[in-house]
């Protein structure tokens, strides 16, 4: 029974799950200790998830400052922005309709479908010579972190943030892939979801536009700081 307990305990650690309790012997404790030491050394796995830091902050605020209301959460900017955009689209359509009814010569309607200039910038992330063919490198460019790869002469870059809860992905070998330290989701270097054990569907990692200019590798970071879902089509040098 004890053997089963420790075996399951170690498997839980490896799968980034909460290990189940069992009555451990001293030998079990030795094995658990060694397993924890090795598991804790997995690259990038010990930093707290942003989601957790935000949630605990909120909980403490509620606990400690019962009078002061927290400002409407900044932790869901994407969802809020999405809702606002959807609202704006509806309003825009309404105005468009009114304008069209009154003066057919009115200019393009605001709102849905309008191309907005994106004041993003190209960030140099490393020198070209540091990215030989077949290599993968982590990079940080402003608020964006990700991985850039040169495969058969072509450059690819993807966001390095898990699409589940925003944990920072770690690069793993054999074969090269990106692994989430939080819940074990695994992505290919092109951003595709390889596997996960989450009860919700997981989206692929956003790809980033990447180019090579005067001996450096550069990644396009949109002004919003969030990687676009697809590489911007209207980017110029």
């Amino acid at each position: 029974m004890a053997v089963r307990g420790i075996t399951r305990y170690i498997e839980d650690l490896l799968r980034s799950r909460r290990p189940r309790k069992f009555a451990a012997s001293e030998q079990d404790a030795d094995l658990a200790r060694a397993a924890i030491t090795l598991r804790a050394a997995r690259p990038g796995s010990d930093a707290p998830a942003e989601e957790f830091v935000t949630a605990l902050h909120k909980r403490l605020a509620a606990d400690l400052d019962p009078v002061i209301r927290q400002p409407v959460s900044a932790r869901r900017p994407i969802l809020l922005a999405g809702t606002a955009a959807a609202g704006a689209a509806v309003v825009g359509a309404g105005i468009d309709h009114v304008l069209t009814a009154r003066s057919p010569a009115a200019g393009p309607a605001p709102g849905a479908g309008v191309l907005k200039p994106d004041h993003g910038t190209w960030h140099t992330v490393l020198a070209s010579v540091d990215l030989p063919d077949g290599a993968v490198r982590a990079f940080t460019a402003g608020a964006v972190t990700g991985f850039v790869q040169r495969a058969t002469g072509r450059l690819h870059a993807v966001s390095g943030i898990c699409t589940h809860q925003g944990c920072k992905l770690a690069l793993a070998a054999h074969p090269a892939r990106l692994v989430c330290p939080c819940h074990g989701a695994t992505f290919a270097l092109d951003g595709a979801v390889l596997r996960h054990r989450l009860p919700v569907p997981l989206t692929a990692l956003p790809r980033l536009a990447v180019r090579e200019a005067s001996g450096s590798v550069q990644v396009y970071v949109p002004a919003s700081g969030l990687p676009p879902t697809e590489a911007p089509a209207t980017v110029r040098d």
């Binding site: 200790r33 924890i36 804790a40 796995s45 707290p48 403490l60 490393l126 490198r137 090269a176 692994v179």
Partner: protein, 198 residues
């Protein structure tokens, strides 16, 4: 595989230390760790400055995120309510550390009934050491380096490279059943080496 980190890490150092505003929730945690003075004016400053460190500490001791998060929560809930602020950074950290030690001991008592890991480190060292992950990583490296080749490879594949047992078996060109046996033996040997290292 070792990663060369490209791009700048300078943004961390550039973070203003004395910012009294509650940090935007989207700010990366690492930027929030430095504090200008030696005094914490309010609980938010205590939280911002220590959340990453306490989490890292707990993760190194329990090796899994759900438990590390629960223990970190327990520490901050226990520490912040009775804390009288402003207080010096040293005092607050000593209190955080002592609480973390108790919380961890209680955790092991109720889960495995064995004190698998303890907070025996010097608190001053823990909070000041620059790359916080280095200690755990170095220890793991030393244990792995002392292992025979195949033992080292199976443990590296499973624990550090996040391979499934099937993937590890394939990489080592053995059956899944053999990989399981190899992993168990390798871990037993690793535990012995860890004990020898002290």
């Amino acid at each position: 595989m070792r990663l060369a980190r490209a791009g700048s890490r300078a943004s961390k150092a550039a973070a203003p230390g004395q910012d009294p505003q509650p940090a935007s929730a989207r700010e990366p945690v690492a930027r929030l760790r430095s504090v200008g003075g030696d005094i914490y004016p309010d609980w938010e400053a205590v939280y911002r400055d220590n959340i990453a460190m306490v989490h890292r500490l707990m993760f190194a001791k329990v090796g899994n995120r759900p438990d590390a998060e629960d223990l970190t929560t327990e520490v901050f809930l226990a520490v912040l309510r009775p804390l009288r602020l402003p207080a010096s950074v040293g005092e607050v950290r000593a209190y955080l550390f002592a609480t973390a030690r108790t919380v961890l001991a209680r955790y092991w008592a109720r889960t495995l009934g064995q004190q698998v890991s303890t907070l025996a480190e010097d608190p001053a060292e823990v909070f000041s050491s620059a790359p916080p992950e280095s200690h755990a990583a170095q220890r793991a490296e030393r244990i792995l380096a002392a292992l025979p080749d195949r033992y080292r490879r199976i443990l590296h594949l499973r624990f550090l490279d996040a391979c499934t047992v099937a993937e590890a078996a394939q990489a080592l060109e053995i059956s899944v059943a053999n990989a399981k046996v190899l992993q168990h033996r390798a871990l037993r040997r690793a535990a012995e080496i860890a004990a020898e290292l002290g």
